[in-house]
Symmetry: C2
Subunit: 198 residues, 2 copies
């Protein structure tokens, strides 16, 4: 019945992720989590230190996934900026779709982190967004992309991508890579220079 592939701690993280996503961190009680795991509330604490520790692990694991994906996609500076941007978009979608529940928690529940974790998290996110701004700015400077306001463009681009966990369902008609391509196309057709564009 139960998957024995996951350690008890990983089971806790995974079950908590699903609950945090659907009910929110604050509204999820340790009793609920325990019940979903088939154990008593007190027993969870032999595997974790606190409720917030679970949230911390989810948020920072995702941050790491986004970062390493971006590095791989955008590091090769020989490639044109537009190509690197497209690869970065695809990486972002890949991370999102690989674990939509964790992604939703990452996107919405981080504010329940207490200091200093919260500030640290926001700094990471800011650095990540700066990577996208940088790529768009480079593309605009080289004339590959049409982006009169790279800050604005980066904001809109990431916004479109980050809405994905609210509608994507694994096993739907579109595979993650298809979604990535469609999103990249839809977003970049609005950025890429074409003949009659000013």
């Amino acid at each position: 019945m139960e998957s024995t592939l996951l350690s008890r701690k990983d089971q806790i993280d995974q079950t908590a992720t699903a609950l945090f996503r659907t009910r929110g961190f604050a509204a999820t009680s340790m009793r609920e989590l325990a019940s979903a795991l088939g154990m008593e509330a007190g027993s969870i604490y032999s595997h974790i230190r606190s409720k917030e520790e679970i949230l911390h692990r989810i948020c920072f694991r995702l941050a790491e996934d986004f970062f390493s994906g971006f590095e791989e996609a955008a590091a090769d500076e020989i490639l044109p900026a537009a190509t690197r941007l497209r690869r970065a978009v695809e990486s972002h979608v890949r991370v999102l779709t690989a674990d939509v529940a964790a992604s939703a928690v990452f996107l919405h529940e981080w504010r329940h982190l207490s200091e200093p974790a919260r500030t640290e998290f926001l700094a990471l996110r800011e650095r990540y967004e700066a990577g996208f701004r940088q790529l768009i700015g480079e593309g605009a400077a080289s004339g590959e992309l049409y982006a009169p306001d790279p800050i604005f463009a980066a904001l809109t681009l990431l916004a479109s991508l980050n809405w994905l966990p609210s509608w994507y369902r694994p096993g739907g008609p579109l595979a993650p890579i298809d979604i990535a391509h469609r999103l990249a196309n839809q977003l970049l057709f609005g950025l890429e220079v074409r003949g009659n564009q000013k």
Copy 2:
């Protein structure tokens, strides 16, 4: 000192909106809310029936604002679909910027509504999104817009718009109407048919 323009009930709603936005509905206690209003927790209940009633009012008021704005923008069927879509986008941005705190609550805290309000709310949101899909679909059918997948396009468009409360600050360098135009342009340049587009 205090604004006497607002009824006590409206003050409660407004203060609650700000708290629900920054701390989340579940994590905001009635004691916190009372304290922010300069009163005791029990006293709030002479103006409202329950904590959830406040959330309900915020969410459904915004839904109404979005709907009436959309009607006004998109009802005139003589206008081309692309024009109506642009007007609908501008209306959406106007509602968002008119009260970013309430918009953020509308976008993220509705899931704390209990049934049947929750289902009712989701039905309203679905109908609203369908209006955008409809416009995009019409524009695609008439050849005004390039949108091979109107569902996908509508999702991405609203996603980009709905990220606004997370970065918009009233009194910034861009006026709401400027933001509306920029967003509409950035999004529609990716949709509008141009010469060399397939």
